[in-house]
Symmetry: C2
Subunit: 73 residues, 2 copies
Amino acid sequence: MQLGAFSVSLSVKDLATSQAFYEKLGFTVFGGNPEYGYLMLKNGEHVLGLFQGMFEGNILTFNPGWDQAGQPL
Amino acid sequence: MQLGAFSVSLSVKDLATSQAFYEKLGFTVFGGNPEYGYLMLKNGEHVLGLFQGMFEGNILTFNPGWDQAGQPL
């Protein structure tokens, strides 16, 4: 079973603080919108989603049908 | 900054139950040892570590110096 693109969706307390933390680790923002309370960050093939006030806990997210670069599988 | 191989390390209550769950999602065991309370599973490039009784909470794990296939960077 190919689960598709994988990211970890983190529920964060402060989007800007978490963005700054992960940018120090080499992640860069490639999607999302702070006005809607979320940002998508990438370091190489590794994808993190930061979500403020959207859900509790953290989520392993799979997107069936896409590869890690967002291309159709 | 290249963070190296990435996996999610999950603290699980029952190693065998979690193994069965992730195997249904297409993950296969490639490392670890139930006698030592942990297993490493892979689905394509995606790596999960299941750990029973080793730590609390879940961990984003990076292994600097290795790529996702365990080869030197």
